[in-house]
């Protein structure tokens, strides 16, 4: 039987899920609302979950404390905390927003339900697995190097005591063949990550902080969704202006370069990366490129198209191009892409004008179920 509190608890989780679903667009467009908590979960502020009552608002930071100090000395405690906690006889919890913790799987599930995303059919039937050996017990045969001294000694001692050959004045214990015990192991199959996302971003001068924020939010959700679809997921990050390089995640979102834009440079690096590390036979590869659509020259654009058609697209599950609107970009690149690949199924383009459109863009990218 399920205990009462578990019923209440699952009801509570259900309500939370409902609330997140309802406000998903808001949560998505305001990326700062979702804060990573511990590994594999995030915390989401949810003020509406609190039961409203007629209660006192903030009393403007006024309160009473106890201890040493001169007027003007700061007292600790977050002013946001207000008069919360047990300090006050009332039950006023100040302005502190209630936060709930949600696991990433749950979040992905909610996203999938709300956007109506199809499950992804992984490419290639063989699932990649590595094997891991673990010592689990004892057995009677095995290599000498795995002999367990303690267990063997115990067996020998027991035998000698039972046979009456044990002499307490001269406690010599001699194991014979039957006493020997060896450590045995079990082989556990371990799923290995078999999907990779390669993010590429234009960091030329025309991409501002707001554009990067959009990319950051979008990549978080794409990550979350794809992670729920594969047993393991790796990410790689490439930034480019006129030239491209592979960078760490932190660098990816923080770098700001100036200067021109050569999109083909990124595609080249991406291609090299795939060739070096990710065999398309075994990996599900996703590539997403975000830019403001301003490329250096028409020549470079045609290089890009060529690279995509000949090298990248055949190897990728999907190539996503997200064009973030910026005041400087011409936005030409997306038109060129659409013109060059009118019917290519695994190339998805999406225009993201502002944060409110992130959700639609995510749907655009992921609705294909590839």
């Amino acid at each position: 039987m399920i205990s009462r509190i578990e019923q209440d608890h699952s009801r509570f989780r259900e309500i939370i899920r409902g609330r997140i679903r309802k406000n998903l667009r808001k949560y998505i467009s305001r990326g700062d609302m979702i804060a990573p908590k511990s590994k594999g979960s995030v915390s989401i502020p949810m003020p509406q979950i609190k039961i409203p009552r007629f209660s006192f608002g903030s009393n403007k930071g006024n309160g009473v404390g106890q201890g040493d100090g001169e007027p003007g000395d700061p007292v600790g405690g977050d002013p946001q905390d207000g008069q919360g906690g047990k300090g006050k006889a009332g039950q006023d919890e100040g302005q502190k927003a209630l936060e709930v913790e949600v696991s990433l799987e749950e979040l992905a599930e909610i996203l999938g339900e709300e956007l109506g995303l199809p499950r992804i059919e992984p490419r290639g039937t063989q699932s990649l697995e590595t094997k891991k050996d673990r010592y689990v017990g004892l057995r009677t045969t095995g290599p000498e190097s795995l002999r367990s001294f303690k267990a063997t000694f115990k067996r020998a001692l027991r035998r000698q005591v039972a046979m009456g050959t044990y002499d307490r004045n001269r406690p010599v214990v001699v194991p014979i063949r039957e006493d020997r015990r060896y450590r045995s192991w079990r082989t556990d199959p371990r799923p290995q990550s078999n999907a990779v996302i390669i993010y590429m971003m234009d960091v030329s001068g025309s991409m501002g902080d707001e554009q990067k924020e959009i990319v950051r939010i979008e990549s978080f959700w794409i990550d979350t969704w794809l992670r729920s679809q594969y047993k393991g997921l790796e990410s790689r990050y490439i930034i480019h202006d006129a030239s491209a390089r592979v960078v760490e995640r932190e660098v990816f979102f923080k770098t700001r370069e100036s200067g021109g834009t050569m999109i083909s440079s990124a595609y080249k690096v991406c291609n090299e990366l795939i060739e070096a590390e990710f065999d398309p036979e075994q990996w599900n590869i996703y590539a997403f490129h975000f830019s403001d659509g301003d490329n250096w020259s028409v020549d470079d654009t045609s290089t890009c198209v060529k690279l995509l058609r000949e090298e990248l697209l055949p190897r990728l599950n999907q190539f996503g191009y997200g064009q973030v609107e910026s005041p400087y970009g011409s936005g030409q690149f997306i038109k060129d892409l659409r013109g060059a690949f009118p019917k290519q199924e695994n190339l998805v383009t999406s225009e993201i004008k502002n944060k409110d459109e992130i959700m639609d863009s995510i749907r655009e990218f992921l609705k294909g179920g590839r």
């Binding site: 509190i5 019923q7 007629f54 608002g57 106890q66 700061p74």
Partner: protein
């Protein structure tokens, strides 16, 4: 209790012996050892084994389990006001901790039994709550979980709108029903009649037609007043809605359940400082003078100081409570009270003042019987105590947004503490008129005492009230020092200016 291990049973016998020796009067005390998961479960249910199903208990549980897992907090003791008195011990606590908790619990138990504000609580609340729970479950079977749960949400949203004096009035009414009927109020003076000494001019000074008209008018007013609902502003909003709102019988029953439980928990909110102070006083007293073994001192001191710690800029009820009880005890031991003491302003003499009366113990037992937090602080929070405990007021620095020490002015400190405690920390809300504008709208009034309402919650609460009343609901309040009327008409909230603030 049979489930209590022998070690703890012996401990209980020992501690109970000390409690008896010190003169505590308690209900039969039952301890139950539970693991931390059970502890969190019981704590989410407010200390009761069975409550009606509701998600907020799950939320509490979620929160407690998490903060327990991360080691942020630990529930030490959990004791409920019932006869016999149940308390839960966390399995795996050290014996010193268990001792401390037991001593603490005997303090609470004594307080529950003897404090006057608990006099009208139902001591068989475990059964009552279990019955309530099974009724709610039945309604859920009949009307659906979602509908019932949504209605519980609505009721909980107004469960702080109760009248702290109602339990006493109810008791009094029962008394007076048995007593002789109250004497009739003296007949009201003839309306509009002027006093004079010339009887023969009476017809001219007080023309009969005029007097008659006045009489009619008075009668009409009287009738109108009688028709008005409620006749005077009513604080028991829950009770009022139960009687007068157009709700179905199951809804009324649920409203009644929420109200019953709210009244049950009310005294605990009214006596937080006293209750914790009293229990802390006794655990400290019992442990340090009797129960503690030499090798336990350090662990005890560690645990006890954790309980008494003051977060900077905040008040800890345990700390204020215990210090105030100790202060009172010292004062009455030394005879530092009464006219002579109050009028003495020689600092040196006051310092040396000791009449060796030894009345302290008797006094604190009396205080624990007669007071609640507000009256306790009002009477015994003295200038000396304030100085001794180094209280200060805190103000937010507008420029930096930092909270800073404002000053150590006694009157201000005391006023602020009392303000926080008044009406168990909740705003005063009254039902003013159930037929507002003659359109059977509900009008509530908020008696403004200096702090505005939290507007967002106030709006949502009005929505919930409309759900019960099924007609527009308005609330008179004050926002930024301007009188306002907030109205929810079923589809939208509107705020209008009022000429004057609501007063009772």
């Amino acid at each position: 209790m049979s489930s209590l291990p022998a070690v703890l049973r012996d401990l209980q016998a020992e501690i109970e012996g000390y409690a008896r020796e010190f003169g505590l009067q308690y209900f039969t005390q039952l301890f139950e050892p539970v693991d931390y998961r059970q502890m969190c479960e019981i704590a989410s249910y407010g200390g009761f084994p069975v409550r009606y199903p509701h998600w907020r208990f799950g939320m509490e549980y979620d929160h407690m389990m998490k903060s327990h897992t991360y080691g942020l907090s630990k529930i030490y003791e959990l004791v409920i006001n019932t006869d016999p008195c149940y308390a839960y011990l966390l399995e795996g606590n050290s014996l010193v901790d268990q001792k401390l908790v037991m001593a603490h619990v005997y303090g609470h138990n004594d307080f529950f039994k003897n404090n006057n504000f608990f006099a009208h609580t139902d001591r068989r609340m475990i059964d009552v709550m279990a019955n309530n729970a099974s009724r709610v479950r039945r309604y859920m079977d009949r009307h659906g979980v979602a509908a019932v749960e949504a209605f519980i949400d609505v009721c909980l949203s107004i469960d702080n709108l109760i009248d702290p004096w109602w339990p006493f009035r109810r008791a009094q009414q029962r008394e007076s029903a048995r007593a002789i009927t109250e004497p009739e109020p003296p007949p009201a003076e003839e309306p509009g009649r002027l006093q004079h000494s010339r009887g023969y001019l009476d017809r001219y000074i007080n023309p009969p037609e005029f007097i008659e008209a006045q009489r009619e008018k008075r009668k009409k007013e009287e009738e109108a007043r009688k028709r008005k609902l409620p006749q005077r502003p009513e604080r028991d909003v829950l009770g009022f809605l139960m009687k007068h709102a157009p709700i179905e019988s199951w809804e009324a029953d649920i409203l009644g359940i929420i109200r019953e439980e709210a009244y049950y928990f009310l005294p605990q909110m009214q006596t937080k400082i006293m209750n914790e102070g009293w229990a802390s006083y006794w655990h400290s007293r019992i442990m340090t003078t009797r129960a503690l073994r030499d090798d336990e001192v350090v662990d005890y001191a560690d645990a006890a100081s954790g309980v008494m710690a003051m977060a900077p800029g905040q008040l800890n009820p345990y700390k204020i409570g215990i210090e105030l009880f100790r202060h009172i005890e010292r004062r009455w031991d030394k005879g530092r009270f009464g006219k002579e003491w109050d009028e003495c302003d020689e600092l040196v003499e006051r310092d040396r003042w000791d009449r060796a009366l030894g009345l302290g113990m008797k006094k604190i037992f009396e205080v624990r019987k007669l007071y609640n937090d507000v009256t306790f602080l009002d009477e015994y929070f003295t200038l000396d105590f304030c100085r001794e405990q180094k209280f200060f007021t805190v103000k937010e620095n507008r420029r930096t947004g930092r909270r800073e020490i404002e000053g150590r002015e006694f009157a201000k400190i005391k006023a602020r503490i009392l303000q926080q405690l008044t009406n168990f920390g909740q705003p005063f809300i009254y039902v003013v008129d159930a037929n507002y504008l003659n359109r059977s709208e509900l009008l509530l009034g908020h008696r403004h005492e200096g702090v505005d309402l939290q507007m967002e919650y106030a709006r949502d609460t009005l929505r919930n009230l409309e759900r019960i009343w099924r007609r527009p609901v308005s609330l008179l309040t004050v926002l930024d020092e301007k009188p306002k009327r907030i109205r929810f008409d079923g589809s939208e909230i509107s705020v209008a200016d009022e000429r004057e603030a609501f007063r009772v």
